[in-house]
């Protein structure tokens, strides 16, 4: 009988994967932290000692973690679907479910988390030794949590789409994945535009006075806002779009990546 998931075997697999990828993780996280050190030194020596604004530091942390999460599948699992190199990983006696979960955890959780902790630690360290340049602690800044919270969907959805692209494409993975993600977003935005500009044209015109910002990542906020309460049809449509973006995209990407992994031939 096929055993889909064995916790001991999964633990062994995760441990093996992390040990094999430690040099890459250290290099990646080290580079991201050193860039922050570079920003500090540059400000100190070349920008006449002007302090690095908190906004710049939190933005850097966000971008660094996002880049780490996006590049993780391409850097650490680029060979998984390689016709020759991939065989070594496929023959490893662990189930597809265990391999998939391990890949998912390392690419989208563990590596970004390590990058986050490392950069936050570096920032804290610089703040302590050079408070005039790095004023205040980033991790105690309320604005920092607001920024990270608002970007959670980007930090989850786009990395999952990259994970899928890495398994889907065999050559020119990064270019094809980026183009596919752009195409997906364009199609999604076109659907939103069609709904807002044609289906609910009158209601949207009424709401124009409220200066609503309609973006793919704030659809859920729009759904919950009181502006749409008088228009149940529009509210439901926005709700469906929010559901599609926040749950459909990640679940779709995860499911497609899993099946791609399961059905890959070499």
């Amino acid at each position: 009988m096929k055993i889909h998931f064995n916790i001991n075997r999964f633990g062994k697999l995760l441990s093996k994967e992390l040990r094999e990828r430690t040099p890459f993780i250290v290099k990646m996280v080290g580079i991201m932290s050193l860039i922050l050190v570079g920003i500090w030194l540059t400000s100190m020596f070349f920008v006449r000692g002007s302090a690095v604004p908190m906004e710049a530091r939190t933005t850097y942390l966000y971008i660094a973690v996002l880049i780490t999460a996006l590049s993780a599948p391409f850097s650490m699992y680029k060979n998984y679907n390689h016709p020759k190199k991939g065989i070594d990983y496929v023959t490893l006696p662990a189930s597809i479910e265990e391999k998939f979960l391990s890949m998912l955890l390392i690419s989208t959780v563990i590596l970004p988390a390590i990058a986050f902790i490392s950069i936050a630690f570096t920032d804290t360290f610089i703040s302590i030794i050079s408070p005039s340049m790095f004023s205040g602690l980033m991790i105690t800044e309320p604005d920092f949590y607001t920024k990270m919270n608002g970007s959670v969907s980007d930090l989850i959805i786009i990395p999952l789409l990259c994970l899928l692209g890495n398994l889907l494409f065999r050559g020119n993975k990064i270019v094809k994945t980026v183009l596919s993600i752009i195409a997906t977003y364009i199609i999604f935005i076109m659907i939103i535009a069609f709904i807002f500009l044609y289906v609910y044209k009158d209601q949207i015109e009424t709401l124009q006075n409220f200066e609503l910002q309609i973006r793919v990542d704030n659809l859920y906020d729009l759904f919950r806002s009181e502006y749409f309460a008088p228009y149940p049809g529009l509210k439901i449509s926005v709700g469906i779009l929010a559901l599609l973006y926040n749950f459909g995209f990640p679940i779709g990407a995860l499911t497609a990546a899993y099946y791609r992994m399961k059905k890959l031939q070499y």
Binding site: K2, I87, T91, P93, I96, Y266
Partner: protein, 275 residues
């Protein structure tokens, strides 16, 4: 151990196998021979679960290979022709992967590495292609899996390593294990592979033991060529003649000559061995 029934496989429009049947038993070292492009590697990939059977059945130790059951991979290992080594230390590679194989023997791995004269403390990238391949063979044999698939294992090995390879494969063979070696270098593995499987675009032309082959065919050296023979090839000092064995006397099977004989007399060979 391996049971293939009416298996068909194709890459897009290119048909590789059509309704082939094959049984591989434990306790044997099969030599899988065939011309380029007849599907030797494809067959190994089907058995190993890397490709999906289009129609028919392929079961290995009761498993359907493409299900990629962990218990299946605990009992099978493939040594590919082109091994693209990971960027890591050989001993670390072996210890990390060995944990997943219930029968993995670290001491056997060390012993084989010593026999092959490969230093496991180096990264794969610091070793030559032949040394990388020897390290992979050492690891694969140390897993003690029941089914070992080898695709051109002697490619890239130097002369001493080839004889070491014969020795370690011979030692790795047990009553419970089955080794399948796909190769063009039949001379490298002569006296080791038995039975012989010859694949062709028409399917499996031959799957017989050396003993039965020598009962059915005779391989004799003669001063002149013979028109009655199934196959005749010139050798230094005369000709190697392959013909039907009409006496009970057995001769040493020359695998290369057997291969050429089979390809040139497909129907005759099929009829001869179906008796």
């Amino acid at each position: 151990m391996v049971n293939i029934e009416n298996l068909s496989f194709n890459y897009s429009r290119q048909i590789v196998f059509k309704d082939i049947n094959l049984n591989l038993e434990a306790g044997k070292i099969y030599g899988l021979l065939g011309q380029n492009g007849v599907g030797k590697t494809t067959l190994l990939k089907l058995i190993g679960g890397f490709l999906k059977v289009k129609s028919g059945k392929c079961t290995v130790m009761g498993f359907t290979p493409f299900d990629r059951d962990p218990a299946f991979y605990e009992n099978i290992i493939l040594i590919p022709e082109d091994f693209i080594a990971p960027d890591m230390i050989v001993n670390q590679y072996a210890s990390l992967r060995g944990e997943f194989y219930p029968g993995y023997d670290a001491n056997k791995f060390s012993r084989l590495m010593t026999e092959f004269d490969v230093n496991g403390n180096f990264k794969f990238s610091k070793l030559s292609y032949g040394q990388q391949k020897k390290a992979l063979i050492a690891f694969s044999l140390a897993t003690n899996t029941k089914l070992i698939l080898m695709d051109e294992p002697s490619n890239g090995l130097d002369i001493p390593s080839k004889s070491q390879l014969r020795k370690v494969i011979s030692e790795a063979s047990t009553d419970e294990s089955c080794i399948v070696i796909s190769t063009h270098q039949v001379r490298d593995l002569e006296n080791l592979i038995d039975p012989i499987i010859i694949l062709d675009r028409d399917g499996v032309l031959l799957n017989e033991t050396i003993e039965r082959i020598s009962q059915k065919l005779s391989f004799v050296f003669r001063g002149s060529s013979s028109e009655e023979s199934l196959h005749c090839e010139s050798t230094p000092g005369g000709y190697l003649v392959v013909k039907e064995n009409e006496t009970s006397e057995e001769s040493k099977v020359n695998i290369e000559a057997l291969f050429n004989t089979t390809l040139n007399n497909k129907q005759t060979i099929k009829n001869l061995f179906s008796k």
